[in-house]
Subunit: 332 residues, 2 copies
């Protein structure tokens, strides 16, 4: 019997095929092996082909926009939003609009075209987290922005247009709908219970164990109870933290669990395309008792489910308990 | 300057690339020409390979599950939900679950493998709407169900696993999240204004004209103000109707506008893969003043946008005003 499960945070029901669930080998997705065919604007030596860098981790004796970097951040060459201008919020009858003001940046994670977030050094992953945090902290100063969306598309099937591993960042004058829904719902839960709903979920998962993927000193990786898709994985801080930040000024623990999860996915799903998104509190309410920042990671394994965009309804052929078990048992 | 626009119904912000918007010819999507390679379980003569039919429009002298039909409805051979059993709603600590009880049916729209909803006879499209309505009316009698989701995946890229044109129907003991959000928001709007938000949108669009695609006696086709993707199109009844039904016991007007829109899309986008979803009021509140049923049609033109699933945030490279203009001017 399939099961209907409700996400405890935003009350989203999903269908979980609890019997005869699909195993990792049942999925055929294009693997993300790097081929490097042709010119790559993100490779060292080609810095002149991208917009000028905003920041970089580079050898002290090297100049901006030249080789010698280990990580590089620049504006997206084809930005979805423009950095200059005023919001000019306006009504148009029943409709609301504003200028598309925002920042759209690219974090090139490593100079090596053949590495990925799962194969680079742990220090490299830490660098990506630091760069994300530093850019977020800088963009926060801009009074026009309310939120920074940090996300990654790995592999063409997951929407990456360039093969060279990179993370993206979009600063927005609004809060994206799904994040806003999570925040609103978690605030309601807090009003009712005086507890963070994410903390409650984490405590139950730690006790129960069957959806646990990994537990480190400061973080947990879990398969969410109402996962939308096979092998969806969340990484959360174990104690309450409303906004993304380096505990004790270090991202080494977070880098470790993030890379571990990605290595596990690579192992059991053969380098799958995937997306991740960082959900954190908006700038205007960064420190609070109700919301809990986290990463949501989703390998792209199933065909585009036709009606999801139009219904918000998901059918997941792999129970999260099984996904978690496969992940736990992956030898990495 | 790109623009941020807010959907007036569910307060979803999207980025619209108002300048240098992508034109129909900028998109490369696999066309949905029928190839018919190999065995097709939906073709006449192969009725024995599918689960027994639930209903059919067929010649009076023909037997169920034999040729002679013009439209055929049967359970999905690989249903996402099971029809037999009880819901058995249960908590599991903080989580909520119930058995995956529901119906998952397939409407084979025509016996002709080479036709589509846009190329079949108008009478054929009417039949599809009638079959949808009759099945919905029948499933409504089942007290376990709250909602029937009617949707279509056309083309492999839109999630269709079989080429032979068909519509699907899933009866659910819950209301899908996006529909529920629309209903809740439209109720709030009604409480505030004593008007249906959809009616307000329709009136403004009729007056304004720039996002109008087609207006018939009873229906309008519009490009929504905050469209999530290029050429997203909504079809709505012009006067307030909360639930999907045949006005004056006829679906001919609706069939006409639906087929017209699909023909226009075929013409300018070269038989694109697409999805549609019917949004209607749930069974427990079918007739009301605040919700307004409609079709949402979305051609699958852009690559899977990586972070949409994780943020509910969309970037649309084609302004709906331009999409509507291309649609209006399509010679069909």
């Amino acid at each position: 019997m399939p099961e209907l499960r409700k996400d405890p945070i935003i009350a989203r029901w999903v269908i979980i095929a609890v019997e005869r669930g699909k195993r990792p080998t049942d999925f055929v997705s294009p693997s993300t092996h790097r081929k490097k065919s042709g010119f790559c604007p993100f490779c060292p030596g080609n810095e002149y082909t991208t917009p000028p860098e905003i920041m970089a981790f580079r050898a002290p004796d090297t100049k901006p926009n030249t080789p010698g970097w280990t990580l590089r951040v620049m504006p997206n060459k084809f930005p979805a939003l423009q950095i200059h201008g005023v919001l000019d919020k306006k009504g148009e009858g029943i409709f609301d609009r504003m200028n598309g003001i925002g920042a759209h940046e690219v974090i090139v994670e490593t100079p090596d075209h053949h590495l990925s977030l799962s194969t680079m050094s742990l220090k490299g992953v830490e660098n990506v987290l630091w760069a994300s945090y530093l850019r977020l902290s800088d963009l926060k100063k801009d009074q026009r922005f309310k939120y920074v969306l940090i996300f990654k598309n790995e592999g063409e099937a997951a929407g990456a247009s360039l093969e060279h591993t990179h993370t993206q960042l979009i600063a927005l004058p609004i809060v994206p709908r799904l994040v806003k829904d999570e925040i609103d719902s978690s605030r309601q839960y807090y009003d009712l219970k005086d507890r963070c709903v994410f903390c409650d979920v984490i405590n139950q998962e730690l006790e129960d164990g069957k959806r646990m993927i990994y537990e480190s000193n400061k973080y947990v990786a879990i398969a969410p109870f109402a996962a939308r898709a096979p092998f969806e994985t969340w990484i959360l801080p174990k104690t309450h933290e409303s906004n993304f930040n380096p505990p004790g000024k270090s991202f080494s623990d977070l880098a470790d669990i993030l890379q571990r999860v990605l290595k596990q996915m690579d192992k059991i799903l053969d380098l799958p395309p995937y997306n991740f998104v960082l959900h954190t509190s908006p700038f205007y309410d960064e420190v609070n008792e109700h919301y809990h920042w986290h990463f949501e990671i989703m390998p792209k394994l199933t065909k585009i489910a036709g009606f999801e965009w139009g219904s918000g309804f998901y059918i997941n052929p792999t129970p999260p308990e099984e996904a978690a078990k496969f992940m736990r048992e992956a030898k990495i």
